[in-house]
Amino acid sequence: MSEAVELQAPVQNGRRWGVLRDVVISVGVIGLIWLGLRVLRDPEAFSEWGDLTGKLAQAMLALVLGIAGIWALFIVVNSLVEHLPARAAELVRPWIFVLPALAVVAVYLVYPAIRTIIQSFTEVPEGGGIFSNYIEAFTDPAVQIAIRNNVIWLLLAPAAAVVIGLAFAALADRVKHESLAKTFVFVPLAISMVGASVIWGYMYAWRVPGTDQVGFINGVIQFFGGEPIPFLFEIPINTYAMIVIMIWLQVGFAMVILSAAIKGVPVELTEAARIDGASELQNFFKVLVPSIRGSIITVFTTIAIVVLKVFDIVYTLTGGNLETEVVALRMYDAMFRFRNFGQATAMAVILFLAVVPIMIVNVRNLRKQGIEA
């Protein structure tokens, strides 16, 4: 702000007053916002207003500060920029609008990421080298199981979700009540992972054979005279039982994107193939699938990233017991249960490194699609 004043020093009186006025107003606005934030931080601020009204007033203030405050801030800073010479103003202005977002990303994303990486090398047990967290990570049998499981998840879940989603998209394309059919597949996507896990927890529930089965699947099995299976408590069914939940959740997403992609394939193309004598299957595999290759890759990689970070399902259903551990859960346990920050950060970095290549593929693919379009 002082810079703005200096730059404007030699200009005529009237404009100088304009600068001064804008500076005063800016300081006032910033002061008001600061004051508002202080009030928000004070837990006692609204206590005299009663429990409900106090909370409502606080929420209102937060809303006003968040929306009107930011709006006012942009306007006053912009008014200051206007006093700069035209070229300088053009240079500075975009940054005024981008800077808050950049600052937020830097503070909440970049800084913690860098700190996490540093910590994974520095928060080592006494006498350990800088790599000791990583050495421990790869030698600890529990972590080895976690990594192995993540690989199993990665091999099964995205592929299955894409295949089923694609099949559904292609088939639903031809039925009468397409949107209704698709809604059923799509609905799970609206359910949180924890919610889905709780639902499936009941699907898989096991009760002593011969007594009333609470779980749907075991209820059916027992009805037909079978022995109920403890899906979540038997190695290795438990891991696969949880992968099914992830597939169930992600099929809807795959279907929606792929269905849109299929609708984007020009009818002339498939018509031409048919005229040339291609069978329905040939048409599907040799014409349709290659035409929507980009979308398939996007869906696959997006689901792959979700799967790599899988946490909620395992945390809710088995807690990582009986060889169901996954890397993200291991990270959580190291952090919040064992208070082993070095281990936790090392796990975070490993997970991050595993996600990066998939991200690259994803971004590249998106970019290519963007260029093609």
Binding site: I25, G28, V29, L32, L35, G36, R38, V39, D42, E44, A45, F46, S47, E48, W49, A57, L61, V64, A68, G69, W71, A72, I75, V76, S79, P125, E126, G127, D140, P141, A142, W206, V208, P230, L232, F233, E234, I235, Y315, G319, G320, N321, L322, D333, R337, F338, R339, N340
Partner: protein, 479 residues
Amino acid sequence: MKKHRWSIALVALALLLAACGDTGGETTTTGGDEEPTTTAGEEPTTTAGAPAGETPYTELNAAIAGDYEGTSVEIVAQWAPDGAEATSFDLALQPFRDATGIEVNFEPTVEYETALQVRVDGGNAPDLAQIAQPGKMQQYADAGSLINLSEWFNVDQLTQDQVAGFVELGSHNGDLYGVYYKTDVKSIVWYPIQGFADNGYEPPTTWEEMIALSDQIVADGNGNPWCISIESEAADGWVATDWMEDILLRTAPPEIYTQWYNHEIPFNDPEVLEAAEYMSQIWFTPDYAYGGNTYINATFIGNTQDPMFDPAGPQCWMQKQAAWIPGFWGENKDFTDPADWPNKPGEDVGFFYFPTIEEEFGQPVLGGGDMFVMFNDRPEVRALLEYLATAESSAAWIERGGFVSPNVNVPLDSYTTYPETELSTMVANATTFGFDASDLMPADVGAGTFWSGMVEWVAANGEGTEEIFQSIEDSWPAG
């Protein structure tokens, strides 16, 4: 034109802020950082209340003499605000307030452990704080946050007054940092009273009797003798660790137990494997545990004993669990008020002491408790801590129920509520008080591999004991 628009917005914003700011300012000046006075110190005209006369504690005597009148002490605890425990504790503090004229501000806190840590880190520690985990006390002591009590506290008196084991639990590196105030007992086994009477079963007093009773129940075709399960959200397995600990206290001297959680002997020491052997006798003998090993792993701990309340009569007969479990019995789950429970503890379901195994190790009790630690050293704070070590300080809470004191001077007939009537006797007769060892181990083991190892052991139906205990030993963090 443009400027006009934003100046209007600005005025509106300013008005709003001014309106809100008003109240904000007011409370900051009156409330602010000063702790609000929750209890007005009453005029100590008379020394009414329990701790009259001479006590074995210097500062407490001085306080009763009125030396610290008008001062104030802040004490915090995790007992939920407005809950029965917080009310009981506040009442238990009242005799001290009345006798000394010291203002005691008790603040029950939510998110207690984090809140305490934040205050200590921020240099704003309360004078006295309740702590349930000895490990937490050790952390604070190592960080230099705690006042070393050994320098002035009458430790001899405390050792004499409390059940063996509590002074050690409150100590770290040979110095006393925490004074135990409240205990919880885990070494009890619940059984259906009517069902036992109908079948002529007697609560067993030795391990052999317990095994004989189990065989009897199986032979009578009365279902399975034991209700056991360990599924507990993100903490599966802790029930099994309690069993291990309770048995180890009965098959090995207390030193072994201490060495075990301090890792001075391997986790899979032969003594520990022997205890595991005893445990598997109950857990994995065919027909002993209801539903077998899958039931143990797959059933939530609050549902463990549901078959005991089967309308067709008990399908399982004995459940080892602490005194919080009655709220989960059968239909009891549907009621919040214990008065409405269809299955009443003491009337419908009673408990017996988890029996002795080897007589030479006496009658150990496994459990937990709450201690108070001191962050600020002032005479009136010392006086309150000393008060909490006396038998008088628990009288009000005992009367209201839900409290067992570690102090042997508390008259047993002052307990009138069930199950404290029996638990207090158990604590008073205890030859050793063993604190939950898994809570004393590093969390990687005590809340990690020990739990998950037990789950694996159950899944394997008791096979591969040595490998599993070896893998827990291997997981012990270095250093």
